[in-house]
Symmetry: C2
Subunit: 252 residues, 2 copies
């Protein structure tokens, strides 16, 4: 059902770079980081390794393409929930994105990335690796542009655009990397998450008091915290730092 081509067999569906990337994302989503192998792709697509390499250079390039595809989708599809808690206006349907403040726009982009990583746990490690290995590849470029555009309407002097945007992007990527749920399905469930937090919290309380006094002091906060909320708080801290530093124009 819902097919454009007449064949139902996936084997005869014509092999294309796009289809390979798509299958790669499926494999990564289903079974995590180590599941994307050339062999897995060939069996899933019904071909041989040579066919894969005809379309895609090498494995790292495929990983990059998979990340880029997911990131692009996350950045172009605006989330329907708003970043800040505010009255839900049924009338603000069509130009909501344009009407939002730069801060709201930044929060929306950041949360889009956060949620994309939550949906695709492999993306965290992949993003982190991509950033160190290819800091200015298409993935980083897209993110930078999405954050930089609202930054440029924030009252920051143009000479500081690059540094300011860098700070936001670095925070966002660092936070999503560390915050991402573990790849194992055990940690995905609600109770699994709670058990993990409880275990970590207890581990911190049992640390050597001389070596780790701070970690012991915040063990309780760790157990009770919400990742997404903490992420937003962090964004707001950085935004406050930016607007404070460049004492914003107090009126239009």
């Amino acid at each position: 059902m819902a097919t454009r081509t007449r064949q139902s067999q996936r084997r005869r569906q014509m092999l294309t770079r796009e289809r390979i990337v798509e299958t790669a994302v499926e494999l990564l989503d289903a079974s995590g980081d180590g599941a994307l192998t050339v062999r897995a792709l060939t069996t899933r697509l019904g071909t041989g390794p040579g066919a894969i390499y005809w379309h895609i250079g090498n494995m790292d390039e495929l990983l990059d393409a998979a990340a880029d595809a997911v990131i692009a989708a996350a950045l172009t599809t605006p989330r329907d929930e708003t970043a800040t808690t505010q009255p839900d206006g049924a009338a603000t349907t069509h130009l909501d994105r344009a009407a939002a403040t730069p801060q709201d726009e930044i929060r929306a982009v950041a949360l889009g990335l956060f949620d994309a990583v939550a949906e695709h746990p492999w993306l965290a490690a992949q993003l982190a690796l991509h950033i160190t290995r290819n800091p200015w590849g298409p993935v980083t470029l897209r993110i930078f542009e999405s954050i930089g555009r609202p930054v440029s309407t924030l009252g920051v002097p143009q000479a500081d655009w690059f540094t300011t945007t860098s700070t936001l992007v670095h925070y966002i990527l660092g936070a999503t990397a560390q915050t991402s749920q573990s790849d194992e399905p055990a940690a995905q469930t609600e109770t699994g998450r709670a058990e993990f937090l409880a275990a970590a919290s207890k581990a911190w309380r049992d640390l050597d008091p001389d070596e780790y006094p701070f970690m012991r002091a915040i063990a309780d906060q760790m157990r009770e915290h919400d990742d997404r909320e903490q992420f937003l708080t962090g964004i707001n801290l950085v935004l406050t730092g930016i607007t404070t530093t460049h004492h914003p124009p107090t009126d239009p």
Copy 2:
């Protein structure tokens, strides 16, 4: 010269977990990420794979141990250069660390990590991976404690210690990950770096104006920026956000 044991042959020097980790760091420093293999270790240490695995569980554990060793060294050895530009006082030699403001302390720790990554380029990717895979392992714990301690003396309400410290740590790790020089020796030299920046800057100016107006606008800043200085500016932005949000005690 400068030996404690009498044998000059490294082969008969007794195999220990410590020595394996040490050799791992040497291999990583010398030839980057992909150079650390069991085979390379065995030839370098004059043993077989079984001997390695008697001491170290598996390869990921060794990578973690290597990162932990380098991070621990970076965090305990205070850098002699000061974070902010200020008159060099020849008298402030012994209690300098204790006398500094919390902000200075945070800057010092952050720069210590930044410089550690600069000295050990493999550390960036390793840190990033470690953080997503084992967010509360010894490496992250150490960094968190080092940042959290000064945060706790910053006037931030205790209930916000965890979130505030998280924000700083996430920024620091994200920034060091993206900022780290490429692993290839070509990019390590001064001129190689300049060429890289010029190439990236030009690439940005040639981007599609409709899709990437912001990146085109900041292409020049990219070419002229200094990574370390930008890193410090980012730290200061976050610190400003923190102190502004918790309107600091205006007097002692």
